[in-house]
């Protein structure tokens, strides 16, 4: 019985030599993949075709297709206003600062967490440091407001006042925000990254350490010569991913933590908030689309080139 079926299956394979026949044979698998394919088409691919909007003067009443082509005018306008350089600089500087501080702190935290041998304690520390990652940016906005509310906030009332310093109207003082946003970002993200690194550290074969101890390696030596080199692939992948996204700011952070305060723009406006404002607040679709396209294109070039560089050094660590 079974052999007949095998023969039949073999026959059907010979029958479906042609590509079309082959696809027909796999129609059920194609149907299973179809919802995902369609959703990506809607979510990711249709918007990609929309990049031509950056070269149009979008007019809703005339319709998207009928709107006038304006060539590079939108870009000229964007760069003429000087906004472009400011938001590009902010986006890159913030992301670089976040990347460096988060990576260093997360690796340190992971190494410390790995030293905790008591199971209950280890679980407690892991849970608490990762907790901020699972709350929404809206809640983060509340937490920041609790500290920085100009009239009632903890910082003004319990730190500035007792020290005899003038209270600061935080939401109207742009110069402090590079630090505030960096602290908030670290607070929210470092625990998550640390647990990822911790998972990598736990995966390291204990024999390396045992051999090192026999050779008389100090804990510091063990860290620099075993732990860090062995988790380097994870560090590289996460860094490549982060560099690829260096043109994408965390909109939630820059919008919620600052409470969308217009007065902070001179130090907190990044490409994402700029595009959002141009689109939803001022309704300037030309600026929104040209800044958006700039972001997508530069981001794409960055990922591909960083990946290329990583590939050159070690093929295994590249993303694709």
């Amino acid at each position: 019985m079974a052999s007949v079926e095998v023969l039949e299956a073999k026959a059907s394979i010979t029958r479906s030599k042609t590509r079309k026949g082959k696809l027909w044979k796999y129609r059920s698998l194609i149907i299973l993949a179809l919802p995902g394919i369609l959703l990506m088409l809607i979510n990711n691919y249709l918007p990609m075709f929309g990049i031509f909007l950056a070269f149009k003067d979008l007019n809703y009443t005339e319709g998207i297709w009928a709107s006038k082509w304006v060539g590079l005018d939108n870009f000229k306008f964007l760069f003429a206003s000087n906004d472009a350089w400011v938001i590009i600089r902010h986006t890159i500087f913030y992301n670089l600062a976040f990347l460096i501080i988060n990576t260093v702190l997360a690796i340190l935290l992971a190494i410390l967490l790995n030293e905790v041998k008591n199971k209950v304690m280890s679980k407690f520390f892991q849970s608490t440091v990762i907790l901020p990652n699972f709350i929404s940016m809206v809640i983060v906005g509340y937490l920041v407001y609790g500290f920085l509310n100009p009239d009632l906030g903890f910082v003004n009332k319990f730190i500035m006042e007792p020290m005899g310093w003038e209270p600061v109207n935080w939401y109207a003082t742009p110069e402090h925000w590079p630090y505030i946003l960096t602290i908030v970002n670290t607070w929210k993200n470092v625990g998550y990254a640390a647990v990822v690194y911790l998972a990598a550290i736990i995966g390291i074969d204990q024999e390396y350490y045992e051999a090192a101890v026999i050779d008389g390696a100090s804990r510091w030596k063990q860290m620099t010569n075993i732990t860090i080199p062995l988790i380097a692939p994870v560090i590289i992948i996460l860094t490549v991913l982060a560099i690829g996204r260096i043109f994408n700011a965390d909109f939630g952070l820059f919008y919620q933590a600052t409470m969308a305060s217009g007065m902070l723009k001179s130090t907190t406006d990044v490409i994402d908030t700029y595009v959002y404002n141009a689109l939803m607040v001022t309704g300037d679709t030309g600026l929104a689309s040209s800044a958006g396209l700039l972001q997508s294109v530069v981001g794409f070039i960055l990922v591909v080139s960083v990946n290329l560089i990583v590939r050159k050094f070690s093929k295994d660590n590249a993303l694709f």
Binding site: I30, L32, A33, L39, V138, D151, S289
Partner: protein, 293 residues
């Protein structure tokens, strides 16, 4: 050798400080929410108010409709979103995990492109509002989160590595269709990865406020996070919540500051309660996520 067994006290101290830093902002908000409003206005937000009061929570209970509705929207969107998303993601990953599937490579590239390049906010916005016309409907909150390239790749990796191809072959020799194989064999065997990815999708749906900010005008469709966002950013919106409750209560002063923070606590509450139970999945999931697809 003794250093292997016992953790250095300095390490414990540093980690304790770290943990404290992660928890303390929550404590501050909790204390503001149960502080007496007069106390707050006089002395500011403090970690240990001199007088406690639960009036803010009473206010919110008076006009619970808005909050309950927002809770309902968030729960509905999250449940539907997670179930559909898990199905779509795993079905696509299942097809791609089959070594003999001719579209395997093409689909990988299809997904990779979505991870590398995006059309930007404006075209994305137009697709939903001018093409699908889903603005101001719950669909606008659900559709955007349904699929993510990274999740598909994690699941595909799991299917490829942990489900022996011979199992699928033997099922199909016994006459099981692809659908039957997927539903009766693959899904039950993949509960760990489904739980992990499901949890991540749950958190992202539950915490989402951006799609509401962009697509939702109708107050009845405000999700919990968006209601919170409005209450924080918009003083008159907060006032309107307080006023509605005020009309039915004898309280003289409106505890605006406490009400604001009480709303945040009501939103954080459930998370803190379930977090300890979910934590092990999060950690497991991070390990999965750390492995390249």
């Amino acid at each position: 050798m003794s250093t292997q067994k016992r953790t250095h006290p300095l390490i414990i101290a540093v980690l304790s400080l770290f943990s404290l830093a992660c928890l303390i902002p929550f404590w501050l908000v909790l204390m503001i929410s149960i502080a007496d409003e007069k106390e707050v206005l006089k002395h500011g937000y403090s970690f240990w108010p001199q007088k406690f009061s639960f009036v803010a929570y009473q206010f919110l209970a008076q006009d619970a409709e808005k909050i309950l509705r927002a809770y309902g929207v968030s729960i509905f969107v999250t449940v539907v979103g997670v179930v559909v998303s898990l199905f779509v993601t795993s079905a696509m990953a299942f097809s791609m995990s089959r070594k003999d599937f001719p579209l395997r490579g093409a689909l990988s590239i299809y997904i990779l492109i979505t991870m590398l390049f995006s059309g930007g906010l404006l075209p994305w916005y137009l697709v939903y509002t001018r093409f699908l016309h889903v603005q101001d409907t719950l669909l606008a909150l659900i559709i955007p989160g349904l699929i993510g390239g990274f999740n598909v790749i994690i699941m595909r990796t799991f299917f490829t590595n942990s489900i022996p191809p011979s199992l699928i072959d033997s099922a199909q020799i016994d006459g099981a269709s692809e659908y039957r194989t997927y539903f009766s064999i693959i899904l039950p065997l993949s509960l760990p990865v489904l739980a992990t990815i499901g949890l991540f999708i749950t958190v992202s749906y539950w915490n989402d406020w951006f799609t509401s900010l962009v697509f939702i005008q109708n107050e009845k469709l405000f999700s919990l996070q968006y209601l919170l966002n409005k209450t924080l950013m918009n003083a008159s919106f907060l006032q309107s919540i307080a006023n509605k409750a005020y009309s039915t209560t004898a309280q003289v002063t409106q505890p605006l500051e406490s009400i604001r923070m009480a709303m945040a606590m009501i939103a954080i509450g459930p998370l803190v309660l379930v977090f300890p139970f979910l934590q092990k999945y999060f950690v497991k999931g991070l390990t999965v996520g750390a492995v390249k697809g």
